[in-house]
Amino acid sequence: MTIFEKIFTLTNITYLLRCAEVSLILATSSIVLGTIIGTLTAAAKIGKNRVLKLIANAYIEFIRGTPMLLQLFIFFFGLPQLIPNYANLSFSTQVFVAGIVGMSINSGAYSAELIRSGIESIDIGQWEAGKSLGMSYFKIMKLIILPQAFKRIIPPLVSEFIVLIKDSSLVSSIGATELLKGAQVIGSHYYNYMIPLFMAALIYLAMTLTVSTLAKKIEKRMKIYD
């Protein structure tokens, strides 16, 4: 039996796919939460309130100017000090929550800039048309600007999602057993890292390619009114 045959078994593949599920959950939760954080941050940046604007800018600069790995460590060690009884949670829950919080807050900063530029790319005439119908700022935003802006934001947001799928591997360094960690576990078991690492790489590739293919389909469907 070759080493490849030893490692490339249904059991190991299933194990890696389980791990990939963790990666995918981390990335999906983070893109959803990150988009919400990003929309609020973008609104703060576009709005007139100077304090909110300052906070939004500081947040974006801090997140974009420091490594995500460091941010994950901050949340992993910081959350137990911030939240009472957090340390009583199971270790895997602690890691998982810290991972999602860290990745969402990281992603929110990048999404904020995408969303802001998307909103600002909508023609001023659209604002004026909404205003002249007697709409409030929020109604114009909700009914006219955001639906159009999101169409333009979807492609870069998909790229952000793909980045998150890949960057979820960083959460392994605070103890999560996601896809990269899974490959390392198999590697250490058989004293062979190359084969499981390539298996993990293929699974990452399958996930990212699926997402980008889906995104192209969605974009095509949204083109109807162009």
Binding site: D123, G125, Q126, E128, A129, K131, S132, L133, G134, M135, S136, Y137, K139, L143, I144, P147, Q148, K151, I224, Y225, D226
Partner: protein, 242 residues
């Protein structure tokens, strides 16, 4: 109905309006004419607060408008239809949804009622068959007619037109002007910024000639267009074909 007194408006490096006063009465059709940059669009935009005057007062039914009170401005804008040079239809909505958005979101009409109303407006502008098209599928003239229907759906007391035919291909000007003439016939109060002097002469009961941010001459179409007294009005009209 609407009275603007001593309006000043500055833009960086330009004085767009210089001590302008006008009054618009019910069922009046007022045309604002003048060279580009004369301030006529700015004046129109001051009426519904798309521009906020630096100085001067605006009264609607003898009540002064507070431009910095957002709620009051929204209430005012509900009663004023505005038609833009560039249409500004909502590209992500079909024609009928463009028309019903205001009535549903602002006037809280139910969908059936708003749709029925929109269809009868589409019938009026002759575009029933385009109800479910997106604006990108329409010609310029059709877009502008839909934009007029969208404004009318709010049941405005006054319609404001900002160069409604200036962005159109020549062969589409007429269909838009026809719709406006119909409105005039129905007794709508209208303020129209236009370069269509012939149209102004035909439908308006008051013509205002503006230049460099001031009103130079105003009166009936016959007075201002037929027998202008001011040299600048004469010079402008002599350069315009109609």
């Amino acid at each position: 109905m609407i009275k603007l007194t001593n309006i000043d408006k500055h833009f960086p490096n330009v004085q767009a309006l210089n001590n302008v006063s006008i009054e618009i009465h019910e069922k009046e059709i007022v045309c604002l004419i003048g060279p580009s940059g004369s301030g006529k669009s700015t004046l129109l935009r001051c009426i519904n607060g798309l521009e906020i005057p630096d100085q001067g007062k605006v009264f609607v039914n003898d009540k002064e408008i507070d431009y910095h009170n957002e709620n009051e401005m929204q209430e005012l804008r509900k009663t004023l239809g505005f038609v833009f040079q560039g249409f500004n239809l909502f590209p992500h909505k079909t024609v009928i949804d463009n028309i019903t958005m205001g009535p549903i979101a602002i006037l809280h009409q139910n969908t059936d009622q708003a749709n029925a109303n929109a269809m009868s407006l589409l019938a009026r502008i002759g575009l029933v068959e385009k109800a479910n098209e997106y604006p990108s599928k329409l010609s310029g003239g059709q877009k502008q007619r839909v934009a007029i229907a969208r404004a009318l759906a709010m049941n405005p007391k006054i319609m404001l037109f900002d160069e409604p035919t200036s962005a159109l291909d020549p062969e589409m000007v007429k269909e838009v002007l026809m719709v406006m003439k119909e409105l005039a016939k129905d007794g709508m109060t209208m303020v129209i910024v236009t370069h269509e002097i012939g149209f102004a002469r035909e439908v308006s009961n008051k013509v205002i000639f503006m230049d460099e941010g001031s009103i130079i001459e105003s009166g009936t179409p016959d007075e201002v267009l037929g027998n202008p007294k001011n040299e600048r009005t004469k010079a402008f009209l002599s350069k315009v074909l109609y």
